[in-house]
């Protein structure tokens, strides 16, 4: 006999608890890169590759954007993977199963534009592997052959190698220090492969701004179109504030509604890099004030 699961019944709340409830957390790189799965049935049903959420941890909290790294529509859950860089991402890292995220809005942004390109290179730097994962899956589902290049400073910082191996036809690792795989940058490896005769119909690059800039430069040199996913500071994520503006092909775009993915050839990476520094001083102060309040002052 087939019985419907609770989550399938109209109006039933899914088993694991109300929206925002955390089901599991995991440190991919302890203290630095974390993964979490939480309840968000409506978003899990709707989201497509390339989209993101905005979340708030607590009532004083900032709204921060994180890519939907994975979703399970049946179970009604989302997965996010993030790197601890400042106050909100470190608060997030302190949450455990059973805790609840205060606000989750999404799915935001436009889904990834996918075509049958034939063979595609997915080039990820650092935490960029997390947003690349759903894109690689979607590219594969659309019939593309996916070569993934994952880079990190050193092998302990490499994440999602196993997941990416499943989502790709081929995975290649790079480390800055040569501790694993190719010794050097992802852009360097991409360049070598293309020079050696690999043919890519399209390149996707996600990672730190300098990494995306270098990778796009390689793609452009070989005449290959490139898509990048940009990460400016956001507030509302719905096109209301203009804080996320980026320059693409000499036009101002709002990353949250026009992106977050753009034609890499046209992106003004230098401007993006500068704008990301906007609140550095304030963020340092916020983190210090927070550490004082929870008794970590003077570390």
């Amino acid at each position: 006999m087939v019985t419907a699961s609770r989550a399938d019944l109209p109006g039933a709340t899914p088993g694991p608890g109300p929206a925002g409830t955390i089901i599991e957390t995991e440190a991919l790189v302890p203290g630095l890169i974390h993964r979490m799965r939480f309840v968000a049935p409506a978003i899990a049903r709707k989201r497509r590759a390339g989209q993101f959420i905005l979340l708030r941890v607590d009532a004083d909290g900032e709204r921060i954007p994180l890519t939907i790294a994975d979703a399970d529509p049946n179970e009604g859950t989302l997965t996010i993977v993030w790197q601890v860089v400042g106050l909100t991402t470190s608060k997030l890292a302190q949450l455990r199963a059973g805790d609840r995220l205060l606000d989750v809005a999404g799915p935001l942004g436009l889904p990834t534009h996918i075509e049958p390109w034939g063979r595609v290179a997915c080039v990820c730097g650092g935490i960029g592997t997390a947003p690349m994962y759903p894109i690689a899956q979607a590219l594969r589902a659309a019939g593309n052959e996916v070569d993934t290049i994952i880079g990190a400073r050193t092998k302990d910082l490499l994440i999602l190698g196993g997941e990416m191996a499943q989502a790709s036809d081929r995975v290649l690792f790079c480390t800055d220090d040569g501790s694993l795989g190719y010794h050097g940058f992802v852009s360097g490896l991409l360049d070598e492969r293309i020079a050696a005769g690999e043919r890519y119909g399209h390149v996707f690059a996600i990672g730190p701004v300098p990494m995306m800039k270098a990778t796009v430069a390689v793609a452009k040199k070989h005449g290959i179109a490139a898509t990048v996913s940009l990460n400016p500071v956001m507030v509302d994520g719905t096109g209301m504030c203009g804080g996320c503006r980026v320059t693409v092909n000499a036009e101002t775009k709002f990353c949250c509604v026009d992106g977050p993915e753009f034609d890499g050839w046209g992106v003004d990476f230098d401007e993006l890099q500068k704008r990301l520094a906007s609140y550095r001083e304030y963020e340092r102060r916020a983190l210090e004030a927070h550490d004082c309040r929870i008794g970590l002052g003077g570390r």
Partner: protein, 478 residues
């Protein structure tokens, strides 16, 4: 003393030098005695014209009579028969161009301070029972229809409250984590305390209206999906939240904000309380605000309160043409905002790290009137000068957010991107209504409320198959 001899009562307010150091409300409001004395100035005209100036048809003459007699409970009841948000309207409505402009007393002397009295009554009621709720508006028996409202600004709140009162089950979908729209994220605390907005939102909730936060319609559910889910009608009150920029060179430098972002950071995200609240806002030493409307005034006055040493407001015409309310301009002047009239930026300048350091401006003079009837500003040759500023706020206006139009195939829009609606709020799509800034373009709280009100009536009529009244309702569409 004959009524006409009494002078209009002004409200006591925080001293300008003190208030630039805090975010508390500027005017203190009337006390009971002042309120009664002010209401006694009303001439109780046989055919009162003041009501013609009120988009939500408040029975002004009757409520003033009740105030004069000290019957405050009756007075607030009269207002709330047609206006569910009196504490808000009493504070932010441009009465000088609405009810008060039509006041007969205003022909000879200063008009009755209708707005101040409305504010007094709402505050008095909250002081009595801690809320602006009252038994008169208790919801009718449920009729089984579900209505979806998109956006929780004044248009959405009013439409929701009216429908709930008629017996509908209403759900408001709001993109943010708080309700109120511009009232919460745009208008600053010192002009409209957030606790007051919250009290009125709580009142709407107490009528059984359900609020779904963090729910971006067009992304999570579309309007079509809401209809498929069994909502009998959808009201779109998504406002005009799309910030305009000037398109001048250098505009993406660090420190150049849209007024929306600057005010949202400070109000909704409470950046003024940083680092107790986590969201920062750049607190420039010298701030320049570009524009001349209420939004520009709010940004400039916020900048002062965030501790900026010098705040300039750059406007390309003269004080005469400035669209902001007189009271706001006056308050900004008192607080020390420097007004640069007949002045316009031509490019933004930044340092090598991308931080704004000011703008190149030109001086203007007024030429012949343009299409708007206002004299056109013309650049004075050779008048270029440099205005230093480390934070610049662009407050030149907002357009309608395109999200709903983009994700709802059969909803007609205008060239400007606003949703087309008839005077009752009906859009080109069956079952879908719209009103407020999304239809009018950036307008006012009271017009948004008026639109929410007439849409609620139209929704009710359409669902019950009743024809529109022959006599016109107040126009919801300009």
């Amino acid at each position: 003393m004959p009524r006409v001899k009494i002078d209009r009562h002004s409200m006591a307010e925080q001293d300008a030098a003190v208030r630039v150091g805090n975010f508390q409300e500027v005017p203190f409001g009337y006390d009971a005695e002042q309120a009664m004395a002010e209401a006694s100035r009303c001439l109780q005209c046989k055919t009162p014209t003041c009501m013609d100036g009120c988009p939500v048809e408040v029975d002004i003459r009757s409520f003033l009579l009740a105030v004069e007699a000290g019957k405050f409970a009756d007075a607030i009841g009269i207002i709330k028969n047609t206006n569910g948000l009196p504490a808000i309207c009493g504070r932010v409505c441009p009465q000088e161009t609405q009810c008060e402009e039509q006041c007969l007393l205003g022909k000879k002397k200063r008009p009755v301070a209708i707005g101040n009295l409305e504010r007094f009554l709402a505050d008095w009621e909250r002081g009595q029972n801690g809320s602006n709720g009252d038994a008169k508006s208790a919801p009718a028996a449920r009729n089984g229809h579900r209505i979806a409202i998109v956006g929780s600004g004044p248009a959405g709140l009013t439409c929701a409250a009216d429908l709930a009162r008629m017996g509908y089950d209403v759900t408001i979908f709001e993109a943010f984590h708080k309700a109120g729209g511009v009232l919460i994220y745009g208008i600053p605390e010192f002009r409209l305390p957030k606790s007051i907005v919250q009290a009125e939102v709580d009142y709407v909730a107490s009528m059984g209206v359900e609020f779904r936060y963090n729910h971006v319609i067009g992304k999570l559910d579309t309007v079509d999906e809401l209809l498929e889910q069994g909502y009998s009608a959808v009201f779109v009150g998504t406002g005009a939240g799309l910030p305009y920029f000037m398109g001048l060179p250098g505009e993406n430098a660090i420190g150049i904000y849209s007024a929306n972002e600057y005010l949202t950071r400070s109000n909704l995200m409470r950046a003024y309380d940083f680092p107790n609240a986590d969201t920062p806002v750049l607190r420039g030493d010298r701030v320049a605000v570009i524009g001349g409307g209420n939004v520009a005034m709010d940004a400039a006055r916020t900048a002062l309160r965030l501790g900026s040493r010098e705040v300039s407001l750059v406007y390309r015409r003269s004080r005469e043409e400035m669209p902001a309310r007189n009271e706001e301009i006056h308050h900004a002047e008192q607080e020390g905002v420097r007004f640069e009239y007949l002045c316009a930026p031509t490019r933004f300048e930044s340092d090598e790290n991308g931080w704004a350091r000011g703008m190149t401006c030109v001086r203007m003079q007024l030429g012949e009137p343009d299409d708007s009837g206002r004299r056109r500003p013309v650049v004075i040759e050779g008048s270029e000068f440099f205005l230093p500023a480390d934070v610049i706020v662009v407050a030149i206006g907002n357009g309608p957010n395109p999200l709903i139009a983009q994700t709802t195939a059969d909803i007609a829009t205008t060239k400007r991107g606003t949703i087309r609606a008839d005077k009752f709020g009906r859009t080109s799509k069956k079952g879908v209504y719209a009103g407020g800034d999304i239809v009018l373009g950036a307008a006012t709280v009271i017009l948004a409320m008026g639109a929410g009100k007439s849409a609620a009536r139209a929704i009710d009529r359409d669902l019950r198959g009743i024809p529109d009244p022959v006599e016109d309702e107040p126009a919801a569409t300009a």
